[in-house]
């Protein structure tokens, strides 16, 4: 069970308090109606599935309840850093 640093609580907390929430930094288009089918498909379904450094979202659902972002190595499972939602990619 990983320890995950919640950037809001500023504590390392047990993984069991968190849920994974998919790849990070995929913003919902401001006006989806203007997107082509291909672009909408890319937004909905196409993911990096990185081997190695991966930006992903987690939620401290059984803690402060906040979504946040993380950079994690999918090979070692190690978190490099976590940061608040809305902050630029690290």
């Amino acid at each position: 069970m990983l320890l995950i640093h919640c950037p809001y609580c500023d504590e390392r907390r047990p993984e069991i308090e968190f849920v994974y929430a998919g790849e990070a930094h995929i913003a919902r288009p401001a006006d989806p109606a203007t997107l082509s089918d291909e672009d909408w498909e890319a937004y909905l379904f196409i993911r990096a599935n990185a081997r190695g450094r991966h930006h992903e979202r987690w939620r401290h659902s059984h803690g402060c309840g906040r979504f946040f972002n993380a950079a994690r190595d999918t090979l070692s499972d190690r978190f490099e850093c976590t940061y608040k939602a809305g902050e630029p990619r690290r």
């Binding site: 919902r28 109606a33 939620r59 939602a85 809305g86």
Partner: protein
């Protein structure tokens, strides 16, 4: 006692005799004995039969690595544990242990015929032989093989024991209480670190327990640790798994060693988070590979030492040693020093340390240097050995009653490897040793390769003049894998050690190859004409030793298996004999049978009451979310398919929620309580999912919106009153709300009181009847429910369950998310196109609805289905076809999603998802079932009261 017990040696308590049985026969031992040492003391050499060939087997080891001596302990009353290593079973008065894998008895085992047929049972035998004919596999081969093979039996009864569990945190976790672990604990005891030192045995000390010269140090050290409050010692505790961020799983055995377990948990699961981990798990001596190396009485040299000096038991009176390592000589000298006859030391090395040879000479021991054991005399116990020089092969025989193997040492790197630490091949040690750590962890002592047992060589097998293809030289004792099996796997083209492992099953038994992995690796490397490090090593996985399911489940047993959520009205329903069904983690009353009623009769009566008078239903499990903030309406407008901004306070609206991919995920009726406050409802199962999804959009996509979401599912008990008399029932109980139809129309909400407690009163209907949903603070749900029932007696009020609720809603064509939808259904598919705001520019899922495939013709649409024979109720999930005479596989048009007997209509009804369903109105379709094909006609819904005339009562 028997002549095998040696006076004056061992740590056993000779003042406390213990009696026990093995295979029904009574034996005696002493407190401090294991089953293995006590039986050995009584002259027992035969402990079990091997897995595949049913060969007689004795003890190989004295510790957790023991592969052969697996026993079952049956304490009665369902306390039944198979596959325990006799070397780890502490004896107590009344212990009843039995051997395994033999029939009818250990000495005479008919399965041993497979040993004679051994040449027909090579690696991969099962895969190759029992392929044809296919039908024989299930009925004949597999059951027969399973009876013959397998280790131990499955407990036949439920486990009556309780298991405890806890989390624990420390700065330093030390795994292994041998000298290295104790030294690490002593060092840390001077700091303010929180330290846990755990060991799998009943006594700390590890290898030191078998070396009397270390006992004074051991006693003094343990005294010091006992007086150190920051060091916690856990005995009989096995660290079985190493997980991320220094999270280590361990099981403490609390009662298995007690004659009277009492009302105590049997085991305790420790979930330990450590700042730093020190692994001090020691090393395991390696067997040597030669013909006959599995005859009872052939064992590890170190084990013989442990049995003698820790338990006071001689494994033989006249032993021989087969060594590839200096440690075997030292063990022989120690045994000789204690009065045990040593008939020979055979060493396969061409030259050994001359001081060893001189010492052997001084003790009168014959040394055979540059020679190897090529055969063992005796079948159920060792009677002698055949020795042969490595080069010129002149043979000779030596009489002995035990043969001790000293094949060098394998560091116990299982947990290290689980922690993702790398392993490095040490040529010098002929073993993998810890390399670079991944976690904050280090290995000390034997498991780091740091030992002082002298030198040795690593041999894949002893040289022999005999044809290697015709001898059984065992590598994996527990899974009966021989050297020639590994050679065969390589000949047949397997190259990866992971494949060789799976093909031969080497290392795949309950001991996970503790004594066999390195020998198998060296044999594979030799057959591949490669080296051990380039062949690699198989992956280590938890558990280090087998653990009980009970311990791993911890608290999650019986009624605590998982939380069963109960409403405030659940007790009342239980007392009234309700039949319950699980809905998510909730249990909900399905129907309330009266004496003599079956489900059909009860549900028909409950439905009739709702349609003719009034029914009352516990809807408390519905998810509820309070949405507050100045942008609340804007937020809901973006989330739901329909418009929300114009909804007036005091009014309700049906909300349909899609995922961004355009498919329905939830629905519910929601109310606007104030301009900036909504009371949302969700499905029972969707409550947590919907809140999570809404939080996601709110926090990450639209953080500018000033809106907050609060789950109020459990704040409110929800009591649904449905039926023409619903208003009459609550009228005398409600305060501050005008219930008249004009003042309080359908799809409205009012706040007031009921029975003197605050209520959010909804006028809504999931039945098509006049209906109210009474929300009251949960603490009062039960009392208000009972008052409503009392008040409704004169109107024939009838409690109804989820089954009647389903029938009533299906009669009206109302869908249930997850039953009539399956994650691939759009609003239009479900006939809910009306709930999509045509003028809205955006909402979650809107863009997807415009994708060509979501508006293409031929999509499955939800329609009504009426069987031609009105008495037949279709089966939910049944497939639908157009032409039942078409060849199999038929083209399936869809499936039945809901099907009930409708008491109101006196016929069956069904909902179905059917391709192009709305274009098939009036068509007859067919539902093929195993025994018949059922014809049914596609129709529109609702089935009942299509004009909605009953909503006002």
């Amino acid at each position: 006692m028997s002549g095998y017990r040696i006076a004056g040696l061992g740590r056993i308590d000779r003042t406390r005799p213990v009696t026990f049985t093995f295979d029904g026969k009574r034996y005696a031992g002493f407190a401090g004995d294991t089953l293995a040492s006590a039986l050995l003391a009584s002259g027992v050499m035969l402990f079990g039969r091997s897995f595949k060939y049913h060969r007689p087997r004795g003890l190989l080891a004295a510790g957790a690595e023991e592969p052969n001596a697996l026993v079952t302990v049956d304490r009665g009353g369902g306390r039944f544990t198979p596959n325990l290593r006799a070397t780890g079973v502490e004896i107590y008065d009344g212990l009843a242990a039995t051997s395994q894998n033999r029939w009818p008895s250990l000495k005479t085992d008919v399965g041993a015929i497979s040993d004679r047929l051994g040449m027909f049972l090579p690696a991969g035998f099962y895969n190759k032989t029992f392929m044809w004919p296919r039908s024989f596999w299930e009925k004949l081969y597999e059951p027969a093989l399973r009876r013959m093979a397998g280790l131990g039996e499955t407990p036949p009864e439920p486990d009556p024991d309780r298991y405890a569990a806890t989390y624990a945190h420390c700065d330093l976790l030390i795994v292994g209480g041998g000298p290295a672990g104790i030294e690490a604990a002593l060092e840390a005891s001077a700091t303010d670190k929180r330290v846990i030192l755990l060991d799998e045995q009943e006594e700390m000390g590890g290898g030191a327990l078998g070396d009397p010269s270390l006992w004074p140090w051991l006693e003094a050290s343990l005294d010091r640790l006992a007086g150190t409050p920051n060091v916690a010692l856990l005995h009989r505790t096995t660290a079985f798994g190493y997980y991320h961020d220094n999270f280590v799983g361990a099981v403490e055995r609390l009662t298995d060693h007690l004659a009277e377990p009492g009302d105590c948990p049997r085991e305790k699961l420790w979930r330990i988070r450590a700042g730093e981990v020190v692994l001090a798990q020691g090393a395991i001596e390696r067997p040597l590979v030669f013909e006959g190396n599995d005859v009872p009485g052939v064992m590890l040299a170190s084990a013989a030492g442990t049995f003698l000096f820790r338990y006071g038991v001689a494994v033989g009176r006249n032993v021989a040693v087969m060594a590839a390592h200096d440690s075997g000589w030292r063990d022989a000298f120690a045994l000789a020093g204690a009065g045990i006859g040593v008939a020979a030391i055979v060493d396969c090395r061409d030259a050994v340390d001359p001081t060893l040879v001189l010492r052997a000479e001084a003790l009168g021991i014959t040394a055979y240097v540059g020679q190897s054991v090529i055969g063992v005399l005796g079948r159920q116990r060792v009677r002698g050995i055949e020795v042969c020089a490595n080069r010129d092969h002149p043979g000779g025989r030596v009489s002995c009653d035990a043969l001790l193997m000293a094949g060098g040492w394998t560091p116990s790197v299982q947990l290290w490897s689980q922690s993702k630490g790398t392993l490095t091949w040490s040529v010098e040690l002929g073993a993998y040793v810890p390399g670079v750590s991944h976690e904050r962890t280090q290995c000390v002592g034997g498991c780091s390769g740091d030992w002082h047992f002298g030198d040795g060589v690593s041999m894949e097998a002893m040289p022999t003049p005999r044809d290697p293809a015709r001898i059984k030289a065992f590598v994996d004792f527990q899974n009966d894998v021989t050297a020639k099996d590994i050679a065969l796997a390589v000949r047949e083209g397997f190259r990866s050690i992971e494949h060789i492992k799976r093909y031969t099953t080497n290392g795949m038994a309950t001991d996970q190859g503790k004594t066999s992995n390195i020998n198998a690796l060296m044999l594979a490397a030799s057959a591949l004409e490669s080296t051990a490090p380039s062949v690699g090593l198989t992956t280590f996985r938890p558990p280090y030793t087998p653990q009980s399911f009970g311990a791993l489940a911890g608290h999650a047993q019986d009624s605590l298996f998982q939380p069963t959520r109960r409403t405030a009205i659940d007790d009342w329903a239980d007392a009234r004999g309700a039949v319950f069904e699980p809905v998510g983690h909730w249990r909900r009353a399905r129907y309330f049978p009266r004496p003599g009623e079956d489900m059909a009769a009860a549900v028909a009566r409950e439905c009739h009451a709702v349609r003719s008078a009034v029914g009352v239903f516990d809807a408390s499990t519905l998810g509820k979310i309070e949405v507050v903030g100045k942008d609340a309406a804007e937020f809901l407008n973006r989330m739901y398919t329909n418009p929300w901004k114009a909804l007036a306070p005091g009014r309700c609206r049906y909300g349909l929620l899609l995922r961004e991919d355009g498919f329905i995920t939830d629905d519910g009726v929601s109310a606007r309580l104030a301009p900036d406050r909504f009371h949302l409802t969700t499905t029972t199962g969707g409550a947590a999912r919907v809140l999570h999804m809404m939080e996601d959009y709110l926090q990450t996509e639209w953080p500018d919106l000033e809106v907050w979401l609060t789950s109020v599912t459990e704040q409110w008990s929800t009591i649904a009153l449905q039926g023409p008399r619903a208003r009459n029932v609550i009228a005398p109980l409600v305060g501050g709300i005008d219930l008249a139809s004009t003042a309080f129309p359908h799809m409205a909400v009012r706040e007031g009181t009921i029975c003197g407690v605050p209520t959010r009163l909804f006028r809504v209907s999931f039945t098509g009847e006049l209906g109210f949903e009474v929300n009251v603070p949960s603490a009062y749900g039960r009392a208000v429910w009972e008052r409503i029932l009392a008040e409704g007696q004169c109107f024939g009020i009838t409690p109804y369950g989820t089954e009647a609720m389903h029938v009533l809603r299906a009669e009206k064509g109302y869908i249930v998310i997850g039953q009539d939808t399956d994650g691939t259904v759009t609003p239009d598919d479900a006939g809910l196109g009306w709930a999509v705001g045509a003028k809205k520019t955006d909402f979650v899922g809107k863009r997807s609805l415009a994708r060509p495939d979501l508006s293409a013709p031929g999509r499955k649409q939800l329609v009504g289905l009426l069987t031609d024979d009105p008495l037949i109720v279709l089966e939910e999930g049944a497939q639908i076809v157009a032409d039942p005479r078409q060849p199999v596989p038929m083209t399936m048009l869809g499936h039945v999603t809901s099907a009930y007997w409708s008491a109101s209509l006196q016929r069956s009804i069904a909902l179905a998802l059917v391709a192009g369903g709305r274009d098939r109105m009036g068509h007859t379709l067919h539902v093929p079932m195993p025994d018949r094909t059922i014809a049914a006609t596609v129709c529109a819904t609702p089935f009942f009261d299509p004009t909605g005339s009953r909503l006002d009562g």
